[in-house]
């Protein structure tokens, strides 16, 4: 043990990540591989900066997986989940069933007892949710057919872990432990259901699940609204973490997978207005913990064993990956995937999963599998996991080009469907008018609003409004800024608008930004920041008053209209000129003097240009001069 306490360890882990992940990304290897390499580097077989405690870290970091499932749940509306039931049960069931059968047969062939072989088969049929989803997300492949199918299979596997944990002790020659003791690897050691009969246990489990669903529907939202009213961002973060940890504990107490519980809570909250804020709050924790998890996996690869028996381990890896690949390809053919999608699907799922570590240790505890069998297999699983990002790169660079297709283009419309092209930040008097106009013309809008009372009201009116402080980059990200095309800042806070423009320009330069502002000086600031369209909030209203005043005085409505439009155009042009003039002396005069000078310049330029204001199209005085006529300046 090299550690000088917690801070030294944290320092080692963080620096490993910060050094190795950017390099891996730069090389096109993806962050997962970067973390794994970092883990290997600091592990017992690298620089030996961390020792055996890597295992503990891994258990802790598995919480990242729990958070990831929560976030996935948030992205999955119940209706979408229901639509996926076919793939989940069909593909997932087939994958787990066929792989288990194949590996069990191989195990028996190599002389394992049926019980051991089955335990190994079940364990190895699982794939790595963490690695696969993280990698697919990073490559933007989640929305493809293959990505969606892979996700369905992974979801089924996460659920299948529960019965597997239940079956293990039954397979044991001598039953020693209860399901739950090893089932919850994440926290408390005793569960409430222990000692009850099977029926009671089942009832309690059902009760907890019902509690999560009903609580999510009726309790969590008022709770978040209450927290949100404090307007303390960190309190909301705390509440979000509390929710995830609370559910994890609850699930552990009844012997279920915490990941499954938080996933369920996520699905229940997918339709709530706090979805984006929750995503924004949990995301950094998830990212860090998941990174930590990958590092721990990298560190735990037992190179002693690998170097001792390189042939055996190599064969195990090749065998495992080959069997999984074949099964997945067959499933792809059964479900009629296109070839490119089928290969992507198979390559993403052809590895062992993190649950294998849990299941193998559980199996060993239950004497279902011996250590001599389990240890090489654990090594093989870890290597296959580490190879996944590499396999996907090979698929991307070498195999996919042969199919001539890269992305599934037909899916394009779907993704636009899910992420709205317009994000409106601030939904008060100003934003709501813009939003209603867009919606009335079938343009999807995502609304971010910081006033929880207003969020509640607008949702009652059937609008899709999300709670959150729009100036946060993570929230903007969660709101789909990457896919959106237009960002409208409609809140009434100049400094915050400026900050947000700055942030959006930096992270999402593709967005066309619309802002409101109170006056000309604010417009200048925003234009300098690179805003594309900026609007003085009282400008057009004032002009409308001008039109109505003119018509009341007896001007023809059309004349008043044109005069005003000419005036407007002139003002816009003058503002633009002023903006550049202003720049030269910006530092010399105070803001109030600036305003007066601006106005003065404007008035002067108006006087100069009066001649241009006249509509000469219907004024035939010039015609009269040429062709002759009695009256002056009017006719026809």
């Amino acid at each position: 043990m090299q550690g000088d306490g917690f801070f030294f360890q944290a320092f080692v882990y963080l620096s490993a990540a910060v050094i190795s992940v950017p390099v891996a990304k730069r090389l096109g290897l993806g962050s997962v591989l970067g973390y794994l390499i970092a883990g290997f580097a600091i592990g017992p077989f690298g620089f030996h900066l961390i020792g055996e405690e890597g295992q503990d870290v891994m258990h802790f970091a598995e919480f990242g997986v729990v958070m990831m499932l929560f976030l996935i749940g948030l992205e999955l509306r119940p209706s979408l989940l229901w639509r996926l039931r076919g793939p989940i049960l069909g593909m997932g069931g087939l994958q787990v069933g066929l792989t288990t059968a194949a590996i069990t047969s191989v195990g028996i062939f190599f002389g394992l007892s049926f019980q051991s072989a089955l335990a190994v088969g079940m364990t190895l049929s699982l794939s790595s949710t963490a690695i696969v989803l993280q990698t697919l997300n990073e490559k933007g492949l989640m929305k493809t057919d293959a990505g969606q199918s892979a996700f369905s299979v992974l979801l089924f596997q996460d659920i299948a872990v529960i019965p597997m944990l239940a079956i293990m002790p039954i397979l044991a020659v001598k039953t020693v432990k209860t399901i739950q003791e090893a089932g919850d690897s994440h926290g408390g050691n005793t569960t409430w259901v222990e000692g009850f009969s099977g029926w009671t246990q089942a009832l309690m489990v059902a009760g907890v699940i019902a509690f999560i669903i009903i609580g999510g529907l009726f309790l969590i939202r008022p709770f978040f609204r209450y927290v949100a009213k404090t307007r303390l961002r960190e309190l909301f973060t705390a509440a979000a973490l509390l929710l995830v940890i609370g559910i994890s504990l609850l699930m552990a107490k009844v012997g279920l997978s915490p990941a499954l519980g938080t996933f369920l809570a996520g699905v229940v909250l997918a339709n709530s207005e706090y979805r984006h804020e929750l995503e924004g709050d949990i995301e950094p924790f998830k990212g860090l913990l998941l990174g930590l998890f990958f590092i721990a996996v990298g560190a735990s690869i037992d190179f002693g064993l690998i170097t001792a028996k390189p042939g055996l381990i190599g064969m195990l890896v090749v065998g495992l990956v080959t069997i999984k690949l074949v099964v997945l390809l067959v499933i792809g053919i059964i479900f009629k995937f296109r070839h490119d999608q089928n290969v992507l699907f198979a390559f993403s799922l052809a590895q062992g999963g993190e649950f294998a570590f849990v299941l193998f240790s559980f199996a060993v505890q239950n004497h279902v599998v011996s250590n001599t069998v389990a240890n090489p297999l654990i090594g093989a699983v870890a290597i296959s996991m580490a190879l996944t990002p590499l396999a996907l790169i090979i698929n991307d660079k070498l195999i996919q080009p042969r199919f001539g297709t890269h992305e599934n283009e037909e899916k394009e419309a779907d993704s636009i469907d899910e992420k709205n092209p317009v994000i409106i930040a601030g939904f008060g008097n100003f934003g709501s008018i813009v939003g209603r106009l867009l919606r009335a013309n079938d343009v999807g809008i995502t609304v971010l609003e910081h006033d929880s009372d207003r969020v509640e009201l607008l949702r009652k009116l059937g609008l899709k409004v999300f709670y959150g402080d729009a100036s946060r980059q993570d929230l903007l990200h969660a709101a789909g800024a990457e896919k959106a095309r237009v960002l409208i800042l409609a809140f009434n806070d100049h400094q915050k608008t400026l900050d947000m423009v700055h942030m959006a320009r930096k992270h999402y330069p593709h967005l066309t930004i619309f802002t409101r502002s109170s006056g000309r000086t604010e417009v200048f600031d925003l234009l300098d920041e690179g805003v594309h369209h900026t609007y003085r909030e009282t400008f057009d209203t004032s002009l409308k008053v001008g039109i109505d005043a003119l018509t009341t005085l007896g001007f023809r409505a059309y004349q008043a209209q044109r005069a005003t439009k000419t005036f407007r155009q002139h003002d816009v042009e003058a503002t633009d000129i002023l903006r550049h003039v202003r720049h030269d002396k910006k530092n010399f005069i105070s803001l109030s003097r600036q305003r007066i000078e601006d106005l003065e310049q404007l008035m002067l330029s108006e006087l100069r240009d009066t001649e241009d204001h006249l509509d000469t199209g219907w004024d035939i005085s010039h015609v009269m001069k040429e062709f002759g006529g009695k009256s002056q300046g009017e006719d026809n």
């Binding site: 023809r556 409505a557 026809n636």
Partner: protein
């Protein structure tokens, strides 16, 4: 509640009435008549956002439709053209089931800056005013409307106040006669312009 033989709708279009002495006077003679609706469309729709339903209802309520406008580039002012594009909808004004305007009467009241002599086959413009109105006439035909010759005021650039008054009185007379069903339509159609000889077409 039809008190008159024919209800009349005058669609008036002038983008700069403030500059038009002749039209300012002409409209005075027909704005306050019973059974006659004066509809100033540039005033009603300064932003060109024409309310199609409202316009169609106005058309349904009337039997005689008048396009009163100056001649701009040998055609109607822009908003009147926009009005036709939007209001005369397929399946409403024309087409298999479009017969809302069937049997109604349409004619133009046109003012031109140029003298009548310019609007001759041997004049500068090479065509008569009636010929320039061919698109309107054909539109009326497609809508199964009865098209009458236009009421024309030529040479507004050199017109005297006396002449304007006389035209105004004629305008009022023909509108009232049409309203009361006292115009011999077949006789009227024989003329190049509605106001060339009022006595010969107004029944007493």
């Amino acid at each position: 509640m039809k008190n008159f033989e024919n209800n009349i709708l005058i669609l008036f279009a002038h983008p700069a009435l403030q500059n038009s002495r002749v039209n300012r006077h002409l409209i005075k003679y027909i704005t306050d008549l019973d059974g006659v609706t004066f509809h100033d469309i540039y005033e009603a729709y300064p932003d060109f956002h024409i309310n199609v339903k409202r316009e169609q209802n106005l058309l349904l309520e009337n039997d005689i439709i008048v396009f009163h406008h100056p001649l701009f580039w040998f055609s109607v002012p822009a908003i009147l053209r926009e009005w036709m594009d939007l209001v005369l909808q397929h399946m409403w004004a024309y087409g298999k089931t479009g017969n809302a305007l069937k049997g109604k009467i349409l004619f133009n009241v046109v003012t031109t800056g140029g003298r009548e002599s310019l609007f001759q086959h041997d004049g500068i413009h090479g065509n008569t005013l009636v010929e320039f109105l061919a698109p309107i006439r054909q539109s009326a035909y497609v809508c199964e409307m009865d098209f009458l010759p236009p009421f024309i005021v030529h040479g507004t650039r050199n017109i005297t106040q006396q002449e304007i008054t006389s035209h105004g009185e004629d305008y009022q007379k023909i509108i009232l006669s049409l309203r009361d069903g006292k115009v011999d339509l077949e006789a009227a159609k024989l003329h190049q312009r509605l106001n060339s000889d009022l006595k010969s077409i107004i029944k007493t």
